[in-house]
């Protein structure tokens, strides 16, 4: 049931989730989006633990959209876990946050994030950002071969 997931959206704010999904829908980018409400759930999904124990772990999302301020396990911790595990290291991670703090940006890139996007307050700009994001990571970017296993099957 998770085999078709293309985007893992890690976001605790339901408003932001709704807006993000809306933005993607406007551009018909993907309806294969898995939502994780906190860091722990995101990691459970990725490493097929807890509620996702039954999931086929070889199926990996094509991109992870990660908020930084998250309950339980915060975004940077999630990022560190993803980038330090062989199985998930190659999945592109895009930080999508309201924080413009320099230290967050530096820390994110230090941990190996692939992109860092500040959520604009202006929804028009937000939609544009979502479009560009989806366009780039889902259509233009070529992931490593191991990631495409899920698509083949």
């Amino acid at each position: 049931m998770y085999g078709s997931v293309e985007i893992l959206l890690v976001e605790d704010n339901p408003d932001d989730v709704a807006l993000t999904l809306n933005a993607f829908r406007i551009h018909n980018l993907s309806n294969r989006i898995q939502i994780a409400r906190d860091g722990e759930e995101a990691l459970d999904f990725l490493f097929c633990r807890g509620a996702f124990a039954a999931r086929d772990c070889s199926e990996r999302p094509r991109v992870i959209l990660l908020d930084l301020k998250l309950p339980k396990v915060d975004g940077l911790e999630v990022l560190r876990a993803i980038k330090s595990d062989e199985r998930t290291r190659t999945i592109p991670v895009v930080i999508l946050t309201s924080s413009k703090e320099e230290r967050d940006i530096v820390e994110g890139y230090t941990l190996g994030v692939n992109s860092y996007i500040v959520k604009p307050v202006n929804f028009d700009q937000f939609i544009e950002a979502a479009r560009v994001l989806g366009m780039y990571w889902l259509l233009l970017n070529t992931p490593p071969a191991t990631v495409s296993v899920g698509d083949v099957s």
Binding site: T97, S98, E101, V121, F123, F126
Partner: protein, 1102 residues
């Protein structure tokens, strides 16, 4: 000689003859082959055989190998066969055939020494036949005359065989010395050619002349004979003289040979060693007298024996073995020590040298033996061994460890005791191995001593420790001497080691004992002495020398009584006598030192007998301390009683007035107070009855009291010397002796050295001063005078002169002073330190109180100041931190986002006007977003560190205008840019400043018809940058509010903005240390100024 003649024979004649014969053969053969046959030539077969025979002759040298001999034998057989064949079948002339047979015979037997004559005869026959043949041709005798024509050989063949015959003769001479046949070489050389040539020649001449009928046959014969006689007579005569000379020479040579043999015989017979010739079978052939003497057998007896008969059976096998080796040629000679059995049965040791003489054919001929009697040497050797064995026995039985060394040093014998003692095998110790058994500390010294002994020629004497088998080191006294042979040559070192450990232990313990006694005596606290009946010192301790001042030698000369004077002397003499009489006595007396001092002592004496001498041993104890203590006790008693009698000592009230009035420093005086100082000082006056003073840091008197009669009168006397009534002048004049001592020499010194000063004062007593410290600072000094006033007249006189005072007055004053015991003075000194500390503490506390008061006075201001700082810190908007900003933006995004969704995705269902309201909602949300962004920037300013560098403001402004270009280009605007100097600032933050100021200027000129913005710098002493516009401006009464956060002077609907911009500008400028301000007028524009450095810094740079 025989041999040498043979050697002299040259192979050349043979080779020459053979070569010509071969050449003749080849010539004939080659001419035969070409067909030019002639009667002169040899027949082909003959030529071939001549060549073969010639070649064989040429080959037959003396050194021909066996193979060559076989070849020649083969050739000779061929020749013989050919000769027989030719003769029987008449293939060649008969003469030739005969010659072939002869030549074959010659070659066959050429090497057989026993057939020399046969060969010679054959060769001669061949030569004769050839000569005959040749002569028939030469003399023209017809062939028929000598038989049939087949008989005669051809002339060339005759010549060839003549040469071969001669060659064979030459070969014989080479091989077998044919020359012996004739008397000498001379005969051979002269007569032989003549004997051949002359008849041949004369015969030919006569025949030739006869044929011409020159004369008749008879006359021919006559002439021939006459010529023969003449020629041969001359030849014989000539030759005989040569033969004579040769014979003489030979006789002389033979004589010399005989002489040589005679000499050899003499040498042989008379040689000092035995010489013998022994046959290969061992029988004696010839012996000399010496051998008969050695072995005891006569010559005749010996010649009937073999050497085996008289050789000791044990040596025979060895000897025979060597003999066999010599015979076999494995060795040329041998030397052997062996034993013969003397005729009388005794054993004779000989040194035998044997060599072999071989005959001509290399077979063993006889042995030459040289025999040397070495019995005596053997005996000596045996005796030497025996002697050495006895030496070892003796050495091994000695208690010492005995050893010997070669003159060069390596040890070659160690007695068994040494081996047993060290427990180490002899072989490991010989040479220099024994050195390892020495104590490591002794090794180098031993080596050095040894080398010194070797170098100096002296005997060796050294003490060292040697390790015993159980590991214990024991001391040995080692002595060694050289053993010399009869020529004085050193042959050995002979040495012995004696264990001296116990001796050394005894010596050491005796020395320890002696040292102990000496030290014990010297450590006795008093005087120790032993005197004899006449009072002379037999023994004494160091104290006696130290205390008396006499040297050891001096004490040796004087008597005990010399240490006492006056009554004491007779007292001591009496007590010494008493002690000798009764056995014990004691006395108290003054012990007079060398320099005349008398020290009270208590002496004891007890009679003892030492080494049969009756003497007195005793001790003297210094009782001056006891006496002094008694005297001090008396003075303390006096002081105690005096206090009770006299009450407190009066003080103060010096005639010249109160010096503390002159005190300008007043630190000690004011802090401690006169009353307390008075109490402190009075204490010392009561105790010492001298003087005491307290000084401020600068020397001003905090308190000065002079008390006793002595000090008071001295002080007054020296004050009067100043000749003034003004104490201030007197203090500075330098003649106030007591003040000078008190301040300059005592108290000031103590302050400068930060340590107590203890001096002799000018007034004849002492001064003790200590510095007063308050904390780490020296703030003054306190002192007192002490000690007894002088009593000796010289000092009194000097003081009287210096102080201008009558001597008698001084004497009286001094007499009135009762001396204080030393411990009182020590006590006073200790207390003075306490007093100084007390004063210092009081001053310190006073100062602390003062500063506390000052502190309290300023406290209120400080609290206000600090409160303001805190308020500032609180107002820094740190609350706009990361998480708040984060959380504030999320709802805004939701508001804007959902409003947008409604407005766009649900636009159709919206009532009229809803779109407008939704736009307002979104507008507000976005405005709030800007506000948060600005505030975040603002709050970040405090956290962000400054990266100050040289920045060009013009570049920064270029960047700002670039950002603002959309608005600038949309407007009609006059932008004036004056040139700006470089500045030191954080580039990023400076850009924010300019951006805010420029966007403000743009914003507030928006409604101007002719907007004008000027950027510039008032660079007059201080770089003041400014942005001036002709916009709406503001009233200067709000100028203070301008830079506050969220402060806005205009309505939002007129001019948008968050109210954070100028606050941000001020924060940045303030962080750079500069300031920002504005000048404006409502509706007439505004100017914003700022600097980037503190004002003072500008000035300093200028």
């Amino acid at each position: 000689m025989h041999e040498s003649l043979n050697h002299d024979a040259s192979p050349l004649p043979r080779l020459f003859a053979a070569a010509i014969a071969v050449c003749l053969g080849i010539t004939s053969l080659s001419l035969n082959v070409t067909g030019s046959s002639s009667a002169l030539l040899m027949k082909g077969l003959t030529a071939l055989l001549v060549i073969v025979a010639g070649a064989a002759l040429a080959l037959s040298g003396r050194t021909l190998p066996a193979l060559g001999r076989n070849l020649i034998n083969g050739i000779s057989l061929v020749l013989l066969a050919a000769g027989l064949l030719a003769m029987s079948r008449a293939l060649v002339p008969e003469m030739t055939a005969f010659n072939l047979l002869m030549s074959g015979l010659c070659l066959l037997l050429l090497f057989d020494a026993s057939r020399v004559r046969v060969v010679a005869a054959a060769a001669c026959a061949m030569a004769f036949t050839s000569l005959l043949g040749a002569m028939t041709y030469a003399y023209g005798v017809p062939a028929a005359a000598i038989g049939s024509p087949q008989v005669r050989m051809s002339p060339l063949a005759a010549l060839a065989f003549l040469l071969l015959g001669t060659g064979v003769l030459a070969a014989l001479r080479e091989h077998h010395g044919l020359a012996r046949i004739v008397e000498s070489q001379a005969v051979l050389k002269r007569l032989l050619p003549a004997a051949i040539a002359v008849p041949f020649l004369f015969g030919w001449v006569v025949i030739a002349l006869e044929r011409r009928d020159a004369f008749g046959h008879e006359l021919g014969v006559l002439l021939l004979v006459a010529a023969f006689i003449l020629v041969f007579a001359a030849l014989v005569g000539w030759t005989s003289s040569a033969v004579e000379r040769a014979a003489t020479l030979r006789h002389e040579t033979e004589r010399k040979l005989r002489e040589s043999e005679r000499r050899f015989r003499g040498t042989f017979e008379q040689a000092a060693i035995g010489l013998a010739m022994v046959a290969p079978d061992g029988s004696w052939i010839e012996v000399n007298d010496r051998i008969t003497a050695i072995i005891g057998y006569s010559r005749e007896e010996l010649l009937g024996l073999t050497f085996q008969d008289i050789t000791h059976p044990d040596d025979l096998a060895t000897d025979l073995d060597l003999v066999q080796k010599v015979i076999a040629g494995e060795i040329a000679t041998y030397t052997l020590e062996k034993r013969y059995i003397h005729k009388n049965g005794s054993i004779v040791f000989v040194n035998l040298t044997v060599s072999l003489v071989r005959d001509e054919e290399g077979k063993p001929h006889y042995f030459v033996s040289a025999i040397e009697d070495i019995t005596e040497r053997k005996r000596i050797e045996t005796e030497l061994r025996e002697s050495e064995r006895r030496f070892r026995e003796v050495a091994n039985s000695l208690p010492q460890l005995v050893w010997t060394c070669t003159p060069e040093g390596p040890c070659d014998f160690l007695s068994r005791q040494w081996i047993d003692y060290t427990g180490i095998a002899e072989k490991n110790q010989l040479g220099f191995g024994w050195l390892q058994q020495l104590h490591p500390d002794d090794q180098q010294r031993t080596i050095d001593t040894w080398n010194a002994a070797v170098a100096s020629g002296n005997d060796l004497q050294v003490e060292f420790r040697v390790r015993r088998h159980d590991g214990e080191y024991r001391w040995f006294d080692t002595r060694a001497t050289r053993m010399r042979d009869s020529h004085g040559q050193v042959v050995k070192w002979f040495g012995s080691n004696t264990d001296i450990t116990e001796r050394r232990d005894l010596e050491a313990s005796a020395k320890r004992e002696s040292t102990f006694i000496t030290n014990a005596i010297n450590a006795l606290p008093g005087l120790f002495y032993v005197i004899d009946g006449e009072g002379r010192f037999l023994r004494w301790n160091e104290n006696l020398e130290k205390i008396s001042g006499y040297t050891r030698e001096e004490i040796d000369r004087i008597t005990a009584l010399d240490f006492f004077h006056g009554d004491d002397r007779s007292l001591i003499a009496a007590r010494i006598g008493e002690a000798f009489a009764s056995g014990e006595a004691s006395a108290e007396a003054g012990f007079v030192t060398r320099d005349g001092r008398s020290i009270p002592y208590y002496f004891t004496g007890r009679r003892i007998v030492l080494d049969n001498v009756t003497c007195l041993v005793g001790m003297g104890i210094d009782i001056s301390a006891r006496q002094k203590a008694e005297s001090e006790l008396r003075s303390i008693e006096w002081m105690l009683s005096r206090r009770e009698d006299n009450g407190p000592v009066s003080h103060g009230g010096q005639a010249y007035g109160d010096l503390t009035k002159l005190n300008r420093e007043r630190v000690i005086l004011d802090s401690v107070g006169r009353e307390l100082l008075d109490d402190i000082v009075r204490d010392y006056l009561n105790l010492l009855e001298t003087s005491s003073a307290v000084y401020e840091k600068n020397g001003d008197y905090a308190l000065g009291i002079f008390s006793s009669g002595w000090c008071r009168s001295m002080d007054m006397a020296s004050y009067e010397k100043c000749g003034t009534n003004d104490p201030e002048i007197a203090l500075r004049c330098g003649r106030w002796e007591c003040h000078e001592s008190c301040w300059n020499e005592a108290s000031r010194v103590s302050m400068e050295t930060n340590a107590p000063a203890d001096i002799e004062c000018r007034g004849g007593i002492h001064l003790y001063a200590v510095p007063i410290r308050a904390g780490d600072e020296i703030i003054g000094s306190i002192n007192f005078g002490y000690g007894d006033p002088p009593t000796d007249s010289a000092t009194i006189r000097e003081l009287a002169a210096r102080y201008c005072i009558a001597e008698q007055e001084l004497i009286d004053n001094a007499r009135q002073y009762r001396p204080r015991p030393p411990f009182i003075i020590e006590l006073a000194k200790e207390r003075l330190a306490g007093s100084a500390r007390l004063i210092g503490e009081i001053v310190q506390r006073r100062r602390a109180e003062d500063s506390l008061r000052d502190f309290n006075a300023t406290l209120e201001n400080r609290v206000r100041e600090r409160t303001k700082q805190l308020e500032d810190a609180v107002s820094e908007l740190e609350s706009f931190s990361y998480s708040v900003s984060h959380d504030l933006r999320a709802p805004l995004r939701a508001i804007d986002g959902f409003s947008n969704i409604i407005a766009t995705q649900y636009a159709e269902g919206l009532p009229e006007g809803a779109q407008s309201y939704l736009a307002r909602v979104r507008n507000n949300a976005q405005q709030m977003g800007h506000l948060i962004d600005d505030l975040l920037t603002f709050s970040r300013l405090n956290r962000q560190s400054l990266h100050v560098q040289i920045v060009s403001p013009e570049t920064v402004i270029d960047e700002c205008l670039e950002l603002l270009h959309a608005e600038i280009e949309a407007r009609e605007l006059e932008l004036i840019r004056n040139s700006l100097p470089m500045c030191e600032a954080d580039g990023g933050l400076l850009k924010l400043v300019w951006l805010n100021l420029l966007s403000n200027a743009l914003k507030f000129t928006r409604r101007c018809e002719k907007a004008r913005i000027e950027i510039g710098c008032l660079c007059n002493g201080e770089d003041i940058y400014f942005v001036r516009d002709n916009g709406v401006g503001f009233s200067m009464k709000y100028a203070e509010k301008l830079f506050g956060v969220f402060q806005r002077l205009h309505r939002a609907e007129d001019y948008e903005g968050t109210g954070v911009g100028l606050a941000t500008v001020r924060r940045i400028i303030t962080r750079h240390g500069g300031k920002v301000w504005a000048e404006a007028e409502l509706n007439r524009g505004a100017t914003f100024f700022f600097t980037l450095k503190p004002e003072a810094e500008h000035v300093r740079i200028r």
